[in-house]
Symmetry: D2
């Protein structure tokens, strides 16, 4: 990446985070509705802490930490970077204020502007990682505030206006002949460590849907009693249905509307169904006489002609758990904690969503969440 | 109460709530650090809802409810007044904003100003109840924000400056001869229903301390291993010590300072110890070779000469559970839910604290909390 | 107590425990259906441990502890007597076997027979305490095995045959004039420390029912929607109703039968309702336009002519929490842990039940359980 | 399988279950020490219910169900076969007694003996499945009783005598060249549905250890502070270490001994370490500079010369989650619930253990448990 391109990426990324938070009040930005979600203010501060701790403190001579009490507040999960404020208590940090966090961002942005022109390549790589890291948190900022708003009986809308109508292609099956395919990131562009090493994999021939499952199709499953029929569900999924009282997707309201970034809206039967757990995705696929694709199938098929809604609507749950590729080694140092230590108990999602920052995702991109997670823009692409 | 006096009480009370919240940011006012505590914003709104629902809606012709979606947000526990937002989720209400809640307060204050000059006595009584209700929430606003701040590693100070030094009298024992005493509220002034009916009770002779237990005295108990000796504790208390890892009072920091409204401060050995649970109060008394007084003893002794620190420093845990007086009947209607339904599983506290609004408490006043509650200004007065 | 009387009491008590367990298989005797209950085998062993530890070890020269590994298994809650096996895991002790526990009993009985003829009065008092202690466990053995059997879909019957029909007197109100009454144990017979010191109390005039509430009366409450009406319940009670899904008394089956010592039987509308929690007792009383008596009222009224079903059918929940009498001091040593440390969070029950060993209860006897406890033979006597 | 071979398999399998339970008392056989474990008596009954429900009831004309109330007690997790007794309450079934369960076994064995000579091949296949099902429960019977005994401070020994000393080969690395390998069950013998369809997979070259990790090697990890170093652990694993207070393997006692089927014994440094969770296996591998093999690697390498301790000492945790093979379809009917619905949230184990019945395992065999499970004979074979 050229110095200009990196500088531009940094500026755009940092500005985009603020733009996403612009419509939030100080109170909104502090909301934490569950331990798995974080306040918007925390996302703004944590992504800044990442640059301060991994880039500025070790690499900019004379850099002054903005507030030495803050790193413990905004370290997420890096054991090698010291003690951390308990995750479920992030919503209790009324101090520092949103305004102070914005000042923190300016302080760090200014220091990065000083460092960047003279930074060696290793530092450039860390800055680039910091940008992609921040982009990940941009999506979480949206899914987390949406979850928080969903807990308020007033159902506030994050955005004004109405969502654009979706006009998907007619459903069809794309054929893949199987055989040996190359999996994982190729080329010089940025990728996370979990996308490599690139390696060959052997696939059985399969078919994959040209588009995502729609709300209308999922509504048929709900109406057909899908949430009452244990034989459609994985055992853990059925346990979740019963323990949590699931009856429909998380943001489908009892009155038939669907809650989303534009508040409660009439259901668009053509729009991809989102906010599904892996369990719901599997049960639907079972009911539909199909299955979920593996992540290798998805990656191999994503270049097929007619493969629509790849990365702009909803992440797609894979029939693959999140595991290391052959030869995977986490990087040395703190960035080694970025991905590798989460490689158990999670399912892979591929693609990207309407909340994913433009340019963030790739065909080799591996998103991951626990199978019960329901608050992401996560949907279904069928295979068979 | 004369119309002028009532109007004055109402104005002072409503203004005082705002004054207490004046130093809080929008973010501070939204904090809910545990299910038992509520956000300051919620306290401001709930006390307003009380007037709107019990006074204005039924008694001011043509009154327009400020927002018909809000009563479910700000009803606390009145089953007879409809469904309620779940208590542990009060901190998730970024909307309505603090500014909107203040507008709600103005709307209701204006309507009360219209109603008050023409209100019949029954309505006056409800307004007076509403004022005393709001005073109770003023104390909770302080203890709740203090708890929330205690969860922030930055330990924000609610108030600037330092606490005034306390100069208690030397400890001494006041004698009470026992015999038949009258218990409960007397006279025409306001009292809660739980303070009556006034009735006679028979007391054995006893002694009661002229002042509260100090931090210095309690520190001796801690240093003597009080939190490691099960035989000093009630069984439930010892279970709490072990399950919660109690080692000292809730706001005593590891570095020897004490957290309070003025932030972390050096311990004032002369100041009454506060933020104790009933269990800790009992264990200390056992260690000190004394006991806690009963609420009847306390009420009978509170008029003795030399009875210091009665109601201005810390509520005092009683060796009395919260139960109805002989002949007690809750009022008809929603206000009947105010006190009576909590009369199990709670211990009585008598007196008042530095957080109690001036003029709120009385010798017959019965405060109550579960025996494990540690976030109030609750301390110990010994008896024997 | 004369030596002969004590010896007789000891023999009868020890034999009765075995008789109660005679119909239980080895497997039955090991059942622990919840942390609050204990296996029958454990009751047999614990009561034996009590004699071994408090009587034999300190007072019989040369006494050999039966198995030095067992005291930690069979100490219930005596902090001063060393570490204990965790209460919820008592059902995991397949070893020692029931046969070994019976051998333990014989070993201890033989040693007691050696000691008794030469024991000084202080030891006699401990033996007498041990007998009354064992009698308490005899009742628990029955209520605990009944609870365990209630968890088995086969609903085993503890006893053969059918329960005797109950023919209570017509309901009537007994008048008590109030005034100063003496409360607490009097005389030379055995009493627990919590029954004293005897002291005067002042009562307001009251009425109390001549008999217990019947199943038929309670069924009317259930049919009238008592479990659906929050305003009848204490706040903690209503929370329990909702959290636990209570719809009727614990052992009332959906098909209208009632589970008890004789298995599932047709409901006897005349029989006192039992297995009620304090919360249910209070809600019923509220619905019936009455209240529960205080323990002082009960004790004062228990001698009135016509006071039926005092101690032979069901313990009666009191509107009194379990608290020390004026001047109460626990005994020195381990027996001081017997009662005093439980004096918070519990409600008093007075009377006695069909499961109480003959001669065990007294008018001054104070039983106690948490307000949510539902597995005892606990019922309601109304007052007003 | 010939009729004679099937008959022999059935007889041996049924007899072996009884033999395994022969040393257990009625009380032992009822122990359930955690929801994941079942009583030995329940295993004896459930395996019998399997034959009764899937073989006899549908295929033996005139078969009389032993007790029509029992199927709900002994159905494990088959949603399609009706309601079930709650799993965590299996230990509360003192009735039916162990003797009655043995009579149940005889009743079913006799009926199977009647059916077998005239059974069509489809029924033969079900009988064979029932035998392999019962063998799985034979291993669980051992691991479950061992866990229960570990909860008894007396640490009872399941078996007399001492374990045989283990003399493993020196550790060495076996080379595998990678390439396309065939995975899954081949041939006509019995296999579970999850072992197919057989399919090709592509492997990168790798090395795998010739033997399992020993107790001595694992003790080095413990002494080196492995349980205190978060960077060695998967994130979920470290959370388990902290939440559960893990400090060493589950059955390693504080005094240095190891608990096992022969009770507490001196540690055999040469014996394979067992009772490890997947998390511990991964942390050890990380510390040792190696990794766990995938299940495809294991299966491909299991035929290499020198591959020792394949299936006779401990199951080996795989770096593979439990997922369907390409083209996997669960069988129609109730047996379809056998494996497929558990294919999420579990890790595969390969090999077999000292508790696995002889002849039960195969190289294609896929065992599976949640990553936190610690009570199986589960150990580690390293790869790199």
């Amino acid at each position: 990446m050229t110095p200009d391109a990196l500088s531009s990426l940094l500026h755009r990324t940092r500005a985009h985070s603020l733009a996403l938070a612009a419509s939030l009040s100080d109170e909104d930005a502090q909301l934490q509705s569950m331990p798995d979600a974080s306040p918007a203010k925390w996302h703004l501060a944590h992504t800044t802490w990442f640059f301060e701790t991994l880039v500025l403190a070790p690499h900019l001579p004379g850099y002054r930490v903005f507030d030495e009490r803050w790193p413990r507040l905004f370290n997420s999960y890096y054991e090698s970077l010291g003690p951390r404020h308990a995750r479920p208590q992030r919503g209790l940090l009324s101090r520092p204020s949103l305004a102070e966090v914005k000042a923190y961002r300016q302080h760090v942005d200014a220091a990065l502007a000083t460092l960047l022109p003279v930074a060696p390549p290793a530092v450039d790589a860390l800055v680039e990682l910091g940008c992609h890291h921040e982009q990940q948190h941009q999506e979480l900022l949206l899914t987390d505030i949406l979850h928080a708003f969903s807990c308020n009986p007033l159902l506030p809308a994050y955005a004004t206006g109405a969502p654009a109508a979706v006009e998907p292609p007619d459903q069809g099956w794309l054929q893949h002949p199987g055989g040996i395919v190359d999996i994982g990131h190729a080329g010089n562009g940025f990728a996370f460590d979990n996308e490599g090493p690139r390696h060959a994999a052997l696939l059985t021939p399969f078919e994959i849907s040209n588009r995502l499952v729609t709300c209308g199709e999922y509504a048929d499953f709900v109406e057909a009693g899908g949430y009452q029929e244990p034989l459609l569900w994985l055992s853990d999924g059925w346990a979740a249905v019963q323990a949590q009282g699931w009856q429909r997707p998380l943001y489908w309201l009892e009155d038939g509307r669907v809650f989303g970034l534009h508040g409660a809206q009439a259901m668009d039967a053509q729009a991809p169904v989102t906010q599904l757990s892996f369990y719901e995705a599997c049960a639907f696929a079972e009911w539909a006489g199909a299955r979920l694709p593996t992540e290798f199938e998805w990656e191999a098929a994503s270049g097929l002609p007619g493969f629509a809604q790849a990365a702009d609507r909803a992440w797609q749950w894979m029939r693959s758990s999140y595991a290391p590729y052959p030869g995977f080694k986490p990087a040395a140092g703190a960035v080694g904690e970025y991905n590798g230590k989460f490689m158990v108990g999670q399912q892979v999602l591929r693609g990207g969503s309407l909340a994913t920052p433009l340019g963030h995702a790739r065909p080799s991109y591996r998103n991951f969440f626990p199978p019960a997670a329901r608050w992401q823009f996560s949907g279904v692409r069928l295979a068979r």
